[in-house]
């Protein structure tokens, strides 16, 4: 029996508004514990929430960018449950009337465009954070800085058919949200959190199988790995003729397995009902239109533009535009430059490699993009060969200094002086008579050897093109 994988993702995104969702406290990651809170976000008696307009604006932005219908009328609801990190003992959320509905994201699978449906986007608030006593310390403390931070929850349709598609969907979603500048989208810090519902069903079967909900996947990679694990686990269960248990499972990244957390058959009754302390969210079509007009260029559009404007391959353009910061970096470098493809090669090659190696973000890069262009110019001018250029690049990455300065400092300046090259060539010719003879007897390979010798003596600094042409000149004489 063969099975088809069915995946739906629920993504929580912390919005990067200046203040929290329902009070004027700062919305800031990493502040000292319990400094960004007030009677409202601490759930003090009598305190009342007031919806931050920016939160609505950001949610509408996301909805428009994700091709959703925007509800002109929506409302907030209370989701009731007791937990120490939830000060009011209810979360303000949107239950049956979300602010955005019926959208989609396009991903590219095997060079084909696939649409993944988005069921809904709704506004809600985050909870605080529990800090548990270490070891035998039998207590927990609560940090309420995060309580009341605005979130949007983006729920996909069960349209995703593989762990790879899930990753592509999340990458695209993250990319779009970053372009909109409505969230930091940092999975490690928790400003973008993804839960997955995954089930298997026999191919050609319409009915969905029993699903597991997977939590705690803190990177794109762990999302894909967790789902791959889950596909294997569920397949094995089904092949043995058994049934998958409906449960919530947690991904353990270190052990690379999912672990059962709790059964899903006993669902908690959240007693959702309208939030009477807030008024319905009524939007003016004009306001939505204004937001739509001012939406920034989004990844797909930018990718197509890059192909057209810079003549780079579609693949390059896709990689460069997936991250907004990367695309901006590329464009500042490539703009009005004669050789955009060389820039693209450098950005996709060395820049991405070193970022990964040093575990850094493109946004924190020390040198301005224009320096990379200068570096490529130096290569084009013959002042730097490619291996030396890589050394300069690393130095530039570490120090943020201009390539020309580094060139001198590292003593890497390419030897392109005719006299110096002439001397070098003379030396090589004098010391390698055998090869000279061989060349004259028609063995053209000998030329390569001679060039190599010249480079070796110059410690790689000599301009190989010049050596080549000067050797040829002398040998043909």
């Amino acid at each position: 029996m063969r099975y088809e994988t069915v995946i739906g993702l629920e993504v929580h995104v912390e919005l990067s508004t200046k203040s929290k969702a329902f009070c004027s406290c700062k919305n800031e990651f990493g502040s000292e514990v319990n400094t960004n809170c007030c009677p409202v976000c601490l759930g003090y008696p009598g305190a009342l929430p007031v919806l931050n307009k920016k939160v609505v604006e950001y949610a509408v932005k996301a909805g428009l960018a994700l091709n959703c219908d925007i509800s002109l009328y929506s409302k907030t609801d209370r989701k009731n449950y007791f937990y120490p990190d939830l000060p009011k003992a209810y979360q303000i959320s949107q239950d049956d009337m979300p602010i955005c509905k019926n959208g989609f994201i396009e991903i590219e699978v095997d060079e084909e465009i696939k649409k993944i449906g988005i069921t809904r986007i709704h506004i809600e608030e985050d909870a605080g954070k529990l800090l548990h006593g270490a070891g035998d310390e039998d207590y927990s403390l609560v940090d309420f800085n995060r309580a009341g931070v605005p979130l949007i929850e983006i729920v996909s349709e069960p349209d995703i058919r593989s762990p790879e598609e899930a990753r592509l969907y999340l990458e695209k979603l993250k990319s779009i949200l970053e372009y909109l500048e409505i969230s930091d989208c940092k999975m490690q810090e928790g400003s973008l959190r993804c839960d997955a519902n995954i089930s298997l069903r026999p191919i050609d079967e319409e009915k969905f199988g029993v699903k597991s909900e997977i939590k705690n996947m803190n990177s794109m990679k762990s999302l894909e790995r967790a789902l791959e694990f889950e596909v294997k686990r569920q397949t094995e269960i089904l092949l043995q003729g058994e049934e998958v248990a409906p449960e919530t499972r947690r991904w353990d990244d270190a052990k690379s397995i999912t672990i059962a957390m709790r059964a899903k058959d006993k669902t908690y009754d959240y007693r959702n009902f309208p939030e009477a302390d807030l008024v319905p969210i009524v939007l003016e079509p004009e306001w939505i239109k204004e937001i739509k007009t001012n939406l920034p260029e989004l990844p797909d559009f930018k990718r197509n533009r890059f192909v057209k404007q810079y003549g780079i391959p579609k693949y390059d353009a896709s990689v460069l535009t997936l991250s907004k910061d990367l695309s901006v970096f590329f464009e500042r470098c490539a703009k009005d430059y004669k050789n955009p493809k060389a820039v693209s090669n450098w950005v996709m090659g060395e820049v991405l490699r070193i970022l990964k190696e040093r575990e850094q973000e493109i946004s924190n890069i020390k040198f301005p993009p224009e320096y990379l262009r200068e570096l490529i110019d130096l290569i084009d001018e013959g002042l730097l060969n490619s291996s030396a250029a890589k050394l300069v690049f690393e130095e530039m990455f570490d120090t943020g200094k201009e390539p020309k300065t580094l060139l001198d400092k590292l003593g890497l300046k390419q030897i392109s002086d005719e006299d110096a090259i002439g001397e070098l060539v003379n030396e090589v010719l004098a010391n390698n008579q055998e090869s000279v003879e061989a060349y004259k007897n028609g063995k053209s390979n000998a030329l390569k050897y001679l060039v190599g010798q010249a480079m070796k003596i110059s410690k790689g600094k000599a301009n190989p093109k010049m050596i080549n042409s000067m050797l040829l000149e002398r040998l043909e004489d």
């Binding site: 008696p45 009598g46 305190a47 009342l48 007031v50 209810y90 959702n272 009902f273």
Partner: protein
């Protein structure tokens, strides 16, 4: 004549004329409190020192020639579910016995900014749940007219304080009659404003969609003065409306010729005491003599107000009071095994029986299985009730109904007559369900000398009309006004 016997506007005149100082007033009120508080039990907390400091400041300001506003230097009381900065706000509950809010409720803050002198926090049924102030964790407030009788509730402490001369006026909250019924029992004026007219910020929420902060005063004129301060948009409360209102005092002086008053028959059925009916009948004659037209009418959906009210109020309460978990503030049972045990013990020990019952009932209405047939249905019927009132106000400027089927009942003695109990809720609750304003105005006494009140109900944001009619009536009522003998 003692100063504490005067009204707010009368003592204001005296301050204005420099006949008396804020300190004189405060001394008079505290003398009165010393004399009668033991009998009446109006207060949970008395803030004597703070009041004296505030009065000193006011007297200095007056001496320096500052313009004297209508509230400056005049002692008042605040129901204990209205947050007062640095002053305990217990809501009549053990749960909040030591709760000191770091902020003022907006309604109180407006008065404080205008120079009001708070003398204390008044007793109430725990978390606003009750109609006799017998459900307070702290004490039972007695009716100043007869100490064996209840003061009404849940704003019983506020009503008793004003009636007993312990404060010139008091703030209260009204979720289903909590201002109007105690005002009626204590023979004073009590106003529940239109939903959205007064900020709820800092008033500890019981049923968010039903309640309003309002005021209990000695007469209609005083009520108009306070409403001028309380009214108006507050950006901290999303449900507060941004509507401009006229000066309520200026509106008082207009006559009521041609005013159309409807008498909805559903509110005069079995269970309403004959003495109450007769008092109101006499009052209606006074209205007629002033040129108003009286006509019988109906509010057919009123009977559904009760189930609608109880489902909505208790559902909202179950959620609103879930925050009382003993973690950030309030009572925490020290001896517990784990998290669930802490929640269970803190709430079991910190909350009273009536509160627990109501929270359970509210939770029951919201669970998945019952939501459609309970809460969801209730909010839909609520719309019909509102429309019923709206239609009525297309024809009438005001509706007049009893404030309660009887005068104050005995402490410890539940109402035995079920019809009277039902009518008791019916008199006050539909007004909250519809969100319209209503005011209790005293209209006589029963054979035992206990006050009787009637309610003037207006259309949404129609307070000016209510005040104008009430003021006209008050100045032309045929009965002799008395004071409680304490």
């Amino acid at each position: 004549m003692n100063l504490y016997d005067l009204t707010l506007h009368e003592v204001h005149e005296k301050i204005l004329e420099k006949e008396i100082s804020a300190k004189d007033l405060l001394d008079s009120v505290f003398d009165r409190i010393d004399k009668v508080e033991d009998k009446v039990n109006s207060f949970i907390t008395i803030t004597k020192e703070k009041a004296h400091e505030a009065a000193n400041k006011i007297d200095k300001k007056i001496a320096q020639g500052e313009t004297i506003g209508s509230l400056m230097g005049i002692p008042m009381a605040v129901k204990d579910n209205i947050c007062t900065k640095d002053v305990k706000t217990t809501c009549g509950s053990k749960m909040l016995e030591n709760f000191i809010p770091p902020y003022n409720a907006e309604a109180y803050e407006r008065l404080e900014n205008a120079g009001a002198i708070m003398i204390g926090k008044t007793n109430m049924d725990e978390l606003g749940m009750g109609s006799s102030t017998e459900n307070s964790y702290y004490k039972v407030t007695r009716n100043p007219w007869n100490l064996d009788m209840v003061s009404g509730g849940s704003s019983g402490g506020s009503a008793a304080a004003v009636a007993a001369g312990e404060a010139f006026y008091a703030l209260g909250t009204d979720t289903g009659g909590s201002i109007r019924q105690p005002a009626s029992f204590c023979g004073i004026v009590g106003m529940k404003p239109s939903y959205g007219a007064v900020s709820r910020y800092g008033a500890v929420a019981y049923a968010s969609s039903l309640e309003q902060v309002g005021v209990l005063t000695k007469d209609v004129y005083d009520c108009a003065i306070i409403l001028n301060y309380l009214y108006g948009h507050d950006p901290k409360d999303s449900t507060s409306l941004n509507i401009v209102h006229d000066n309520f005092i200026e509106g008082l002086k207009k006559d009521i010729k041609g005013l159309k008053i409807g008498i909805p028959k559903e509110y005069y059925g079995t269970g309403i005491d004959d003495e109450v009916k007769n008092s109101i009948k006499t009052a209606l004659k006074a209205f007629e003599s002033l040129g108003a037209h009286i006509e019988e009418t109906g509010l057919a959906y009123s009977e559904y107000s009760l189930p609608v009210y109880y489902i909505i109020a208790l559902s909202e309460a179950s959620s609103n009071f879930a925050r009382l978990d003993g973690i950030r503030y309030g009572y925490n049972a020290n001896d517990y095994k784990d998290l669930d045990d802490m929640y269970t013990k803190s709430r079991s020990q910190g909350l009273g029986e009536e509160v627990k019952n109501r929270i359970l009932l509210g939770t029951h209405s919201l669970i998945d299985k019952n939501y459609k047939t309970h809460y969801d249905k209730a909010i839909r019927v609520r719309r019909l009730i509102k429309e019923d009132f709206d239609k009525s106000f297309q024809k009438y400027d005001l509706l007049v109904i009893p404030a309660y089927p009887t005068a104050a009942f005995e402490i410890g003695g539940k109402i035995k007559d079920e019809a009277a109990m039902y009518m008791g809720d019916l008199c006050t609750v539909p007004v909250n369900v519809a969100g319209v304003p209503a005011m209790t105005v005293p209209c006589g006494y029963n054979s035992k000398g206990l006050p009787i009140g009637m309610q003037l109900v207006g259309k949404h944001m129609g307070e000016a009309t209510i005040l104008r009619a009430a003021y006209a009536y008050e100045n032309n009522a045929s009965y002799t006004k008395l004071k409680p003998k304490l």
